[in-house]
């Protein structure tokens, strides 16, 4: 099983590369977008983590940042954008509305983006403070390094199933 060792070493190296250059697709809908701007702005600069380059096309982005309330009407849009992202991909639910629907418990606000897509890191707060966002990014980087992201686990499981025969 030599392959197993080299891939993990190669996998670690690849994860290390991915960890420090997450290209975000800012799926901005509501008030958290203003705080997302502040996180990208000079004071709480997200560029220090290599994640400041927003890519507005799912083909070129690894990290889907769901920023703000997801309404029922926005659900299919979010699902399609997530499906069209290239593997491996991660999702951050930015703010309590994206995590659980926040204090909008009604017919139109969806109780959290994880009703539609698997989410890797949830950020509480309405809107969360920029420090919370950077902390969440560091959490995600640890998760990327250890390969525990949803898409990574799904990929590894499919690999094992294929190998297992």
């Amino acid at each position: 099983m030599g392959l197993e060792i080299t891939t993990t070493r190669l996998e670690d190296a690849a994860n290390w590369g991915r960890k420090f250059s997450l290209f975000t697709y800012p799926f901005v809908t509501a008030c958290c977008g203003m705080e997302f701007m502040s996180v990208a702005a000079p004071k709480y600069d997200i560029a220090r983590f290599g994640a400041e380059f927003p890519r507005f096309s799912p083909r070129q982005s690894d990290l889907l940042m769901v920023v703000g309330t997801i309404t029922e009407r926005q659900g299919p849009v979010l699902k399609r954008v997530y499906d069209q992202m290239a593997e491996p991909k991660w999702v951050i639910a930015f703010g309590v509305c994206a995590s659980t629907g926040g204090f909008y418990q009604n017919y139109s606000a969806m109780p959290g983006a994880d009703q539609v897509i698997p989410v890797d890191v949830y950020i509480p707060g309405c809107p969360p403070r920029p420090e919370q966002v950077l902390d969440a990014l560091m959490l995600l980087m640890k998760k990327v390094q250890e390969g525990r992201g949803h898409s990574q686990v799904r990929h590894k499981r499919e690999q094992l199933v294929r190998e297992g025969g």
């Binding site: 190669l10 996998e11 690849a14 096309s57 799912p58 083909r59 849009v77 979010l78 399609r80 954008v81 499906d83 069209q84 290239a86 593997e87 491996p88 898409s151 990929h155 499919e158």
Partner: protein, 130 residues
């Protein structure tokens, strides 16, 4: 024919190719590939694409592209000329002359030809969109 002058050029080309090749190989090797019908759909800001992109749209796109190509190549020709500008000088031999007559007039004719083309295109309103 001193071949040495081409060694730095050759190494830089090789390096460039190696660099790009490395990254595409890494992407192909390591990157997981999972195709799904939803992923193959064209991306239209998250909503259902309406109609097919195969429709016959205006010829102006082609026009603007071609004109860009023409003037882009014009500037591309200027680079080697600018690099060798000093050696092209006529008055007082290579490297010494203050004013390079041959090189300048040569580029002048090249540019005027293209300016005439630009004027014609401008008058035909093929550049803008309206």
């Amino acid at each position: 024919m001193e071949l040495q002058t081409y060694i730095p050029l050759g190494t830089s080309i090789l390096l460039a190719l190696a660099f790009c090749g490395l990254f595409t190989a890494l992407a192909v090797l390591i990157g997981p590939r999972r195709l799904s019908p939803a992923k193959m759909q064209p991306f239209e800001c998250g909503s259902e694409p309406i109609g097919s992109p195969r429709a016959r749209y205006s010829v102006r796109f082609y026009q603007v592209a071609i004109l860009f190509l023409v003037f882009d190549i014009e500037t591309a020709f200027m680079y080697p000329w600018a690099v060798l500008y000093r050696d092209l000088s006529f008055v007082g031999g290579p490297g010494g002359g203050a004013m390079s007559l041959l090189g300048f007039t040569e580029m002048l004719t090249f540019v005027t030809v293209l300016v005439v083309a630009l004027a014609y295109v401008w008058r035909k309103k093929a550049i803008g969109w309206d």
